[in-house]
């Protein structure tokens, strides 16, 4: 099913992205092309194939990634807020939610 401009508007909304009418005109046919290209996967028989989960090697899968639950210092409030566009009173300040 080809992607329409309405589909692109919908996914932009889901992705929290504003999209201009000019961008819509460019993106819709490009995305339609890409989606129709990837649909060639439908010709591959996969009914009994379990999906690959990531690029993991057997050794990577066998590696125990857990660590002991010991408290350790973290970044700290000052560093964590240092790059925020609008920090106030030890918090990230954002525009009104409602």
């Amino acid at each position: 099913m080809p992607i329409t401009e309405a589909d692109v508007e919908k996914v932009a909304q889901l992705a929290h992205m504003e999209i201009t009418p000019g961008e819509l005109k460019i993106f819709a046919p490009q995305m339609a092309d890409i989606v129709s290209y990837v649909e060639q996967l439908n010709e591959v028989a996969t009914s009994n194939v379990p999906p690959a989960l990531g690029g993991f090697t057997p050794e990577g899968e066998a590696t125990d990634s857990s660590r002991d639950d010991i408290p350790a210092p973290s970044l700290g409030q000052k560093k964590a807020l240092a790059e925020a566009p609008d920090a106030a009173s030890g918090h990230f300040r954002v525009p009104k939610v409602l």
């Binding site: 992705a15 504003e18 690959a52 090697t57």
Partner: protein
């Protein structure tokens, strides 16, 4: 002053430790070359003119395998005290509060980071034209792209500014620019090194990779940055070999797989001839060339652009104007602020991929796209498993053509994606790959071939690459080069 950085790490190290030249002078020479050549290359987004030479003095005194060696880092890898923009307006002048693990390890070995290199925005691209800060230009011909996404790192090494640089490789972003710029470029096995401090794009595909002008330098740097890191759960508990020690020696009897099906339609004539000549060199060196089949490789681009975009749409959700980076002005409500920030902060390719990823993961489509892609990915992994039962490495071109002109493919994303046809399979399967320079086209543009190996087979790849390099040294120099 003549540039001191055109040689390899070992020669530079011995000149520094013998007192022939100071580490400070080496790093200063590198910074000078970076500043001077950046006017024509746009390879660096930040050059540490004042700090790097000072650090060279203190660091060289401490010793280490890389003591006083200047190095350039792709601008999506965090270096404390420098910017990390990812080539994007949305991060802009962001300064990370910590070092990536690979950076910590380089610094411990004495390396001096001289600057952050330009790249496609969030590493999404094959040409470097998607950087918000303008394209990098290829040192061999400045009207052409250096390849992407780690184009700045590739150009910096090719132009003799630094002997070695780091990039990241999600679908070929180290190997492709390495081939376009005439240098070596390695993507290690998935889990070989840490991504802690590498800004995430496609987490099941991303690996930090290495550019250098010799195989030995790639091997030396991998040995330093590789290994388990408790900050990255995907790093594997696999010992790091002494790569340099295993570099030399003859390759008689090595079995090199040739996937004939990948030498068909779309492959440029000169690239084909060059890679076939490399195959002949291996045959002359005593390697056995065997036919291998990778029946599902033809689907790799389709699989990749579902999985990579899906993972990107999720990873890039964090850029919302709250904790760091850019925030759009004039939005009275939170949701509007998110939307405007992302509209103004991201460039077209990133938007396209976020939307594609959101689409393939959306309700009703997940199984048809993402689920299907993960199944075909399993088939691709299995193709390689079977192929490596009959060979030690597989040889392919790195790219179908040499570097193309700036602007040539920008209006056709799908045509751009097809550049990655030879490289994405390694990321999907998690295997290592190295691009080796093997000649110039008739208009003096570098051509590279790629060696792919089984999991953890970096020693084999290095040995094969080194054998070729010893037999056919690539001594040509680009038009833009450190004097």
């Amino acid at each position: 002053m003549m540039s001191e950085t055109k040689t390899d790490i070992q020669r530079l190290r011995s000149r520094i430790s013998s007192g022939e030249i100071t580490a400070r002078a080496v790093v200063e020479s590198s910074v000078n070359a970076a500043e001077k050549l950046n006017e024509s290359l746009n390879a660096f987004l930040e050059i540490d003119r004042n700090g790097a030479p000072k650090r060279a003095e203190t660091i060289a005194a401490q010793g280490g395998a890389l003591a006083g060696i200047p190095i350039a880092i792709k601008d999506n890898i965090c270096v404390e005290g420098m910017q990390t923009s990812c080539g994007s307006r949305i991060l802009g002048n962001y300064h990370p509060p910590y070092n990536a693990t690979v950076i910590e390890r380089l610094l411990s070995a004495g390396a001096v980071v001289i600057g952050k290199t330009n790249c496609d925005e969030f590493a999404m691209g094959s040409s470097n034209e998607n950087s918000a800060f303008g394209p990098v230009r290829n040192p061999w011909d400045t009207t052409r792209v250096p390849g992407g996404s780690s184009g700045g790192s590739a150009a910096a090494v090719a132009a003799g500014i630094v002997p070695v640089a780091l990039g990241s490789d999600t679908g070929g972003s180290v190997r492709l620019p390495a081939s376009f710029c005439g240098v070596f470029g390695l993507k290690p096995t998935y889990g070989r090194n840490s991504r802690y401090g590498l800004v995430a794009f496609g987490s099941s595909l991303d690996q930090v990779g290495i550019f250098a002008r010799t195989t030995a330098d790639v091997a030396l740097v991998l040995e330093i940055i590789a290994g388990r890191d408790e900050h990255d759960a995907t790093t594997a508990d696999v010992p790091v070999p002494n790569y340099l020690a295993e570099l030399s020696g003859d390759i008689k009897g090595a079995r090199i797989g040739l996937p004939q099906s990948l030498f068909g339609e779309g492959l440029g004539q000169e690239v084909r001839a060059s890679v076939e000549a490399a195959v002949a060199v291996y045959r002359d060196l005593g390697a056995e060339i065997v036919d291998v089949e990778l029946p599902n490789a033809q689907y790799s681009i389709a699989v990749y652009y579902i999985i990579a975009t899906a993972e990107a749409s999720s990873n890039l959700a964090r850029f919302d104007g709250v904790r760091y980076g850019f925030r759009a002005e004039g939005a009275p409500r939170l949701r509007e602020m998110y939307r405007k920030t992302r509209e103004e902060g991201f460039g077209p390719e990133v938007k396209r991929r976020i939307m594609l990823g959101t689409y393939v993961l959306s309700a009703g489509y997940y199984e048809a796209y993402y689920g299907k892609a993960q199944q075909v990915r399993a088939l691709i992994k299995d193709d390689f498993r079977k192929a490596f039962e009959s060979c030690d490495a597989i040889i392919t071109p790195t790219s179908p053509t040499p570097a193309f002109a700036i602007g040539e493919k920008v209006d056709n994303p799908l045509a751009m994606y097809l550049n990655d046809i030879y490289t994405v399979t390694a990321n999907l399967a998690g295997i290592p790959g190295i691009s080796v320079p093997c000649g110039l086209s008739s208009n003096r543009l570098p051509i590279g071939f790629q060696l792919l190996g089984a999991y953890w087979s970096e020693p084999t790849l290095f040995k094969l690459a080194h054998a070729y390099e010893s037999e056919r040294p690539f001594s040509e120099r680009p038009m833009i080069y450190a004097e």
